[in-house]
């Protein structure tokens, strides 16, 4: 099933912030993604749920421009996603399973390096500010190889949001976070939503995802088996999820 939820349109161009049409991708004979379509407006949060191997990470990697789809298209504000387009890259932020940070650099050095790549004004100050935003200010000069899983995840969040992207892609962002850090991330995501950023959030955790979602997708076997604006509570989605993923 392919579905496209209604979305808030970009007031200027009339195009949604993120439009995905018929995305498919296979790895050898394994079809990881099958004709996935959706649109997402500014300030909208799409939570994508699905069992392991449903193709959620493949979807995010294609949206981030890290992977080419076999078929289909991605458009940002109506403009097709072009791999080499620096302006489009500045609009995207990704939190993936890995921190994307160098073990041999300190937390501040990692963020400063990325800040310079993104050509941010005063990258050193921005790095310190971003670390403070994820409660890692006191760990700024700590080499990342000595950080705990939770700290690394917070550093990954700081890195992804460093350049203030307006489309944020999150792959299991709550993994490894303690309750306090998870609450901090929820606050950050709520701030992103109120700042009218678009968010695609991939998670196993229905409660965490639904807490923030304006739209919900359930991905099974590479397809969106459900994709619509959020309606109903956790119990209803749990039942729907169990029904759609039965046997997956």
């Amino acid at each position: 099933m392919t579905a496209a939820p209604q979305s808030t349109r970009n007031a200027q161009s009339g195009a949604p912030a993120l439009a995905v049409q018929g995305l498919s991708r296979a790895f050898g004979h394994v079809r990881a993604l099958r004709e996935v379509s959706f649109t997402l407006g500014r300030g909208e949060v799409l939570a994508v749920f699905g069992p392991n191997g449903a193709g959620k990470t493949t979807l995010l990697r294609i949206l981030a421009g890290l992977l080419r789809p076999d078929a289909g298209s991605v458009a940002l504000d109506g403009a097709p996603l072009v791999r080499g387009d620096a302006a489009q890259r500045r609009r995207l932020g990704l939190i993936s399973h890995a921190s994307l940070c160098y073990d041999g650099l300190t937390a501040a050095e990692n963020l400063e390096f990325y800040g310079r790549l993104y050509e941010l004004p005063d990258p050193r100050a921005r790095a310190r500010e971003a670390l403070a935003g994820v409660a890692l200010a006191d760990r700024a000069d700590t080499l990342t190889w000595s950080m705990s899983r939770g700290m690394l995840q917070r550093l990954a969040i700081a890195r992804a949001l460093l350049h203030e992207p307006d489309i944020v892609l999150l792959d299991e962002p709550f993994t490894g976070l303690d309750q306090h850090a998870a609450a901090g991330l929820r606050e950050q995501l709520a701030r992103l939503r109120s700042a009218r950023r678009s968010v695609v959030l991939v998670t196993h955790n229905l409660e965490e995802g639904l807490d923030l979602a304006t739209h919900v997708a359930i991905q099974v076997g590479g397809r969106f088996a459900h994709c619509a604006p959020r309606q109903g509570g956790v119990a209803e989605y749990r039942e729907r999820y169990a029904h759609l993923t039965a046997g997956a």
Partner: protein, 223 residues
């Protein structure tokens, strides 16, 4: 693009300066190879100068390979390569940055290896230092240019450390042959006219490899 390339090179060099793992292993390898060759030869049969060009370039070649392996391997940990590809960085800048860091790395290993080589093989470097450095520089540019490209290809394979030498050695035949021939002639104080053909080969190889690498690098990192 050059600013981004320098950022990436500076980051790689800072990481290597802190760990020194590849540098130290290359230096130990260099010292070992030179020592083994030195003690294996019979100086009454073969003079150091006769053997020197081949041994010098074998040492440079394999010590350099140890460093090139590290260029993209360090981007595998924590998937930092994704971080670079997500950033608004031209892929040519990524290639150039890696190549600059590799050039500094290999150049430093060579700078330490040359005096060791002179000591072990009793080769008087001073009279031929100028031309020899020119040959080393020309061959190293080609070596690093092709090595950086192939390192990016090898990094996504299962046995990256093994794959790089397998992929790279055939491509090294022209520059290493040229470098060995030129080094032998320089040590033998042959006239400049004898060098020009091999010099042209090295220059042509460098130009072709650098241009080709910049053109195709974009496609090497695709999954």
């Amino acid at each position: 693009m050059l600013r981004q390339a320098w950022l990436i090179a500076a980051k790689d060099l800072r990481l290597e300066f802190r760990s020194r793992t590849a540098f130290l292993s290359s230096l130990v390898f260099t010292a070992l190879v030179l020592a083994i060759f030195n003690f294996a030869r019979d100086p009454t049969v073969l003079s150091g100068t006769d053997l020197a060009p081949g041994i010098l370039w074998i040492t440079f070649c394999f010590a350099g390979l140890l460093g090139l392996n590290r260029a993209f391997a360090l981007e595998r940990e924590n998937r930092t390569l994704d971080g670079l590809l997500l950033a608004p960085v031209d892929r040519s800048a990524l290639y150039l940055g890696k190549a600059i860091a590799n050039l500094v790395f290999v150049g430093t290993v060579e700078a330490v290896a040359l005096p060791l080589f002179a000591i072990f093989f009793n080769v008087p470097l001073w009279p031929v230092l100028g031309p020899l450095l020119g040959i080393v520089a020309l061959a190293t540019v080609g070596f690093v240019a092709i090595g950086t490209l192939l390192s990016a290809i090898a990094v996504n394979t299962r046995f990256a450390e093994l794959m790089l030498p397998v992929l790279m050695l055939p491509f090294l035949v022209p520059p290493i042959t040229g470098a060995v021939q030129l080094t032998a002639r320089v040590f033998a104080a042959r006239p400049l006219a004898e060098l020009s053909g091999w010099l042209r080969l090295l220059v042509a190889y460098d130009v072709v490899v650098v241009v080709a690498a910049l053109l195709v690098f974009e496609y090497t990192l695709d999954e």
